[in-house]
């Protein structure tokens, strides 16, 4: 880790977004992760996506559990809300926060251990609830913080740094999420910001649960020969199936695309994701097709990337549960706390 702060000096001609802010205004503290960690590149992509959408940083709530991945919310969006929860319990906290204030952009950052081992139950139920949040898994296949044991996402047959071979099959968060009914599932690679940034922009604007599984090599414990999560292996086996472009509400998408080659999907805020098929057999709007393609490609050793499945038509948690539209912070105190008399009346109903 570096001991100095990132210099305050910035490029004098750095572009500004609609709020007049530069990308530097969306950064956070100095990373304490290992030099070259994929997570830091994901942090960079989150910063770029949030800046590019011109969302004020205080409209974000960052949530995380435990692990290297879960440290990263400290490194982006320094002026936003945040909650660092217990191991694997981030989805519960996200659910609570979401109930209290549905107007924020919820960004959860988790890892393969935090989500697929200790937090698997929480993860699956957040999907089932279609919680309105972006759920990022920084997936490196190892427990980096405890010195490199295989995680539940490690591929069968992959080798640890000291040479042991993993004998158990991997949990694939993407196909799992689609089968559980997730409405936005994407996979990307920390080393490909051109792909990752538009995916994050779309995920932030998706109504409902948006899973973004990001291959994020652990440069210290899982970047060697025989690893299936190294930079080199990921680049060699990385197959973009669907390219996604994010088009903000104000822009006319017809001007940019020929009809037929692209599938524009309108998000609830009026922006669009334009999906372009790079693999002609892959249909990211057909759940059965998406899952079967993923399983086939996975068996062939390919890491299929892009927006893998998208369904904007499903109701999210707020709609299903008919939650209050007004954030609790904006509800007058007298209404939020109607007083002792009202409480007595309610209690008398149960006597």
């Amino acid at each position: 880790m570096s001991f100095m702060k990132k210099p305050s000096a910035r490029h004098p001609k750095l572009p500004v977004n609609e709020l007049g802010l530069t990308v530097r205004d969306y950064e956070g503290g100095m990373s304490t992760l290992c030099a070259g960690c994929g997570h830091d590149a994901i942090t960079g992509a989150i910063v770029e996506a949030a800046w590019g959408l011109s969302i004020p940083t205080h409209r974000f709530a960052k949530l995380s559990g435990i692990g290297c991945s879960s440290k990263t919310p400290a490194y982006f969006l320094r002026d936003s809300h945040g909650f660092n929860s217990c191991h694997g319990r981030m989805p519960s906290v996200a659910t609570g926060a979401n109930c209290a204030n549905r107007d924020l952009y919820y960004v959860g950052v988790s890892g393969d251990g935090d989500s697929l081992s200790i937090g698997m139950g929480q993860f699956t139920h957040a999907i089932r609830r279609n919680l309105n949040m972006t759920y990022i898994i920084e997936n490196n296949g190892v427990y980096g913080l405890t010195k490199g044991q295989f995680s539940a996402a490690a591929d069968k047959g992959s080798k640890a740094k000291k040479g042991e071979v993993n004998l158990q099959p991997a949990i694939d968060p993407c196909s799992t999420a689609i089968t559980l009914g997730a409405t936005f599932v994407a996979r990307s690679f920390s080393g490909d910001k051109d792909q990752l940034v538009p995916i994050l922009k779309a995920a932030f604007n998706h109504r409902g649960f948006a899973l973004v599984d990001i291959i994020s090599p652990c440069v210290t414990f899982n970047d060697h020969e025989g690893s299936t999560r190294s930079y080199k292996y990921s680049r060699e086996h990385f197959v973009p199936a669907i390219a996604a472009d994010f088009v903000p509400p104000a822009e006319d998408i017809k001007a940019k695309y020929e009809e037929g080659e692209a599938m524009p999907v309108q998000l609830h805020d009026g922006s669009h994701i334009v999906l372009r098929k790079l693999d002609k057999d892959y249909d990211p709007t057909d759940r059965v097709n998406a899952v079967s393609n993923l399983l086939e490609n996975n068996a062939a050793g390919e890491i299929t990337t892009g927006i893998l499945y998208l369904d904007e038509s499903q109701p999210d948690m707020h709609e299903v549960n008919n939650t209050a539209a007004t954030p609790l912070i904006d509800v007058p105190y007298s209404k939020l706390n109607p007083g002792n008399d009202t409480l007595r009346k309610i209690q008398s109903r149960y006597r």
């Binding site: 001991f3 210099p7 590149a41 920390s190």
Partner: protein
């Protein structure tokens, strides 16, 4: 673009903007780091190696380094390089034991005409090699323009004396004061092995407009007038003084006038401020003393009443200026007469060589300027060399010093029977500054401090005597703050493409967005695809070879890199390293060193 060839010293040298802009290529970041460590003597000696006169230049250098300073592009103001140089000179120990001494004579005799900075720089390089130098000076004092034209409130005489003595007292050096050379032919007949002409540009330009002759008693040529003030021949001037011209000589004239009794001094400029020749800091210092700088006034005539100068008439000018800052059209919109008692002309200088006979094989061009080779400084007559303002017209002290270094190489080669144009190329050395996992042997943290303000003697006190030095110099405490503003541009970001795993760590951490990994292309097109706008074409792009995993290239825009080293700290494979660049810019002693002992190949 082709991969950048960083083995050519030109590339990394250009990154060190200050050193590149300095004609003598002074190792600026190197001596600033010495100052930061309190090593004033070492800082002084490192300076002296390149610029010979650190105490003098620390006060009056034209500072081409400061406008070039990268700090001026990252924020507004450059590092106060020149003032830091003075800190080293002011606070150093006695350096006499560290200065070279002349060895026994090698039997070669060199004549140096003029005892100014150019000739002294030649002597400084040749005396330690055993040459016998004879300096001819028409005045009774050494120093040339440094003494006669630079007022003592900017450059005290004792500073001058000490640095000049350090050269002429090395041994084997004869200084003939009051002995100006009247005839080049006679000089050439005296059996010198080589002759160096460093006589400066001693003639101030005239302004031939109506009334010039009639009012001659109250119209002065700037450099002549400054000289007569310097030698106490002139001790007063009228109350109302107009200075014509707005270069650095004009600034010295207006401030000197205030000290000789003038109370209303105006500097008259023909053009708007952006066309002024004077350095910004000299303008600021003059304006601090309440000198008024009047723009868009073009001299038309001197006004004379009863045979005496009473004023001057100007045409009021108006200019059309295009987007590139060039004047496209000019108009006269009226006329104005300003009263005055004296006028000082400071509109430029010229060379003058009435003492060089034109039949000696020394060619002059149609402007009566000698034909001199820009690299070797040799005239069209072998063995006769020119340097300083005498060679290519008025420049400044630091240029004269570099001319001296180059001429000394030529004189040495000429005297040894070698080809003067066959010279050692510049060399470089690169050494890693890595001290530990995230430790470097330089202060890599960025200090956001603003430029330190130079303390001045109060306006009330400074006019009491002509020789009260206005700038007090930085105290070691102030200097300690200013040194941290230096970005250490000589600590180079050195990239090894085959080690890169394209993790993007350097790109994410770079505070000034100067790095990009992308597909290669032609420079103009590539510049449009970088992380941040790269429209300063004066600054190079570094382009790596193809990266191992994707074949893309690493591109670095050198423009605003703050050399914080975070790219190297965040690099997991040490593909980036921070390496100290040392330029080896050969001097005469390097040419004289036997090949097997040379410092740099």
């Amino acid at each position: 673009m082709r991969p950048t060839d960083t083995s050519n010293p030109e590339y990394f040298h250009k990154v060190v903007d200050c050193q590149y802009a300095c004609p003598a290529h002074t190792d600026v970041p190197g001596y600033i780091r010495h100052i930061a460590q309190g090593e004033f003597t070492e800082a002084y000696m490192l300076n002296r190696k390149s610029n010979v006169f650190p105490g003098i230049l620390g006060r009056v250098c034209d500072r081409p380094c400061e406008p070039a300073c990268r700090r001026g592009r990252v924020e507004e103001k450059p590092v106060a390089i020149c003032r830091l140089k003075r800190v080293a000179a002011d606070n150093r120990d006695d350096v006499s034991a560290l200065l070279p001494k002349a060895p026994p004579s090698n039997g070669k005799k060199v004549a140096l005409v003029g005892a100014g900075c150019a000739s002294l720089a030649v002597a400084n390089d040749l005396l330690p090699l055993g040459y016998e130098c004879t300096i001819f000076e028409k005045l009774d004092v050494t120093g040339g323009l440094m003494r006669s034209n630079i007022p003592s409130f900017r450059l005290p005489a004792d500073v001058l004396d000490e640095e000049i003595d350090n050269i002429v007292n090395m041994g084997n050096c004869e200084v003939r004061l009051g002995d100006g050379v009247e005839s080049m032919q006679a000089l050439l007949e005296q059996n010198f092995d080589a002759v160096f002409v460093g006589t400066g540009a001693p003639r101030g330009k005239e302004l031939n407009i109506p009334g010039r002759q009639e009012a001659d008693a109250n119209i002065h040529i700037g450099i002549d007038w400054l000289e007569s003030v310097a030698f106490d021949h002139t001790e007063s001037i009228g109350k109302n003084v107009l200075i014509i011209g707005v270069g650095n000589t004009a600034m010295d004239c207006c401030r000197t006038s205030l000290r000789l009794g003038a109370d209303d001094v105006k500097v008259m400029a023909r053009k708007p401020r952006e066309f002024f020749k004077a350095s910004d800091w000299e303008l600021e210092d003059a304006e601090e003393e309440n000198v008024e700088i009047v723009i868009n006034h073009s001299p038309k005539a001197f006004v004379i009443e009863n045979g005496k100068l009473t004023g001057m008439t100007f045409e009021l000018m108006e200019y059309d200026i295009d987007a590139n800052g060039r004047i496209t059209e000019q108009r006269v919109t009226g006329e104005k007469t300003l009263p005055c008692d004296d006028v000082i002309l400071a509109i430029g200088q010229e060379n003058a060589f009435p003492w060089i006979e034109r039949d000696l094989g020394i060619e002059f061009d149609k402007w009566e300027v000698p034909v001199v080779d820009e690299k070797t400084h040799q005239s069209t007559r072998a063995g006769v060399f020119f340097g300083g303002d005498a060679a290519f017209g008025p420049k400044n002290i630091i240029w004269a010093v570099e001319h001296g270094h180059q001429a000394a190489i030529s004189i040495h080669k000429y005297c040894q029977g070698e080809d003067v144009s066959d010279r050692m190329p510049d060399g470089q050395n690169l050494a890693s500054t890595k001290m530990g996992i995230h430790e470097w042997s330089y202060s890599n943290d960025f200090d956001a401090a603003e430029r330190t303000i130079m303390p001045h003697v109060s306006l009330k006190e400074r006019f009491q005597k002509l020789n009260i030095e206005v700038e007090l110099g930085f105290s070691p405490e102030l200097a300690a703050e200013e040194v941290e503003r230096c970005l250490n541009c000589d600590i180079q970001t050195v990239f090894t493409d085959k080690l890169c795993i394209e993790c993007d760590a350097c790109i994410d951490i770079c505070p000034v967005d100067c790095l990009t990994i992308t597909h290669n292309g032609e420079e103009d097109e590539l510049r449009t695809r970088l992380s941040a706008p790269a429209d300063n074409h004066e600054q190079d792009l570094f382009v790596s070879g193809p990266l191992p995993q994707t074949g893309r290239v690493m591109v670095k825009d050198e423009d605003v890199c703050v050399h914080c080293g975070l790219c190297a700290e965040r690099c997991p494979t040490a593909a980036w390293d921070m390496q100290k660049f040392t330029l080896h810019h050969p001097h005469a002693r390097d040419e004289a060193t036997p090949p097997e002992q040379k410092e740099v190949a």
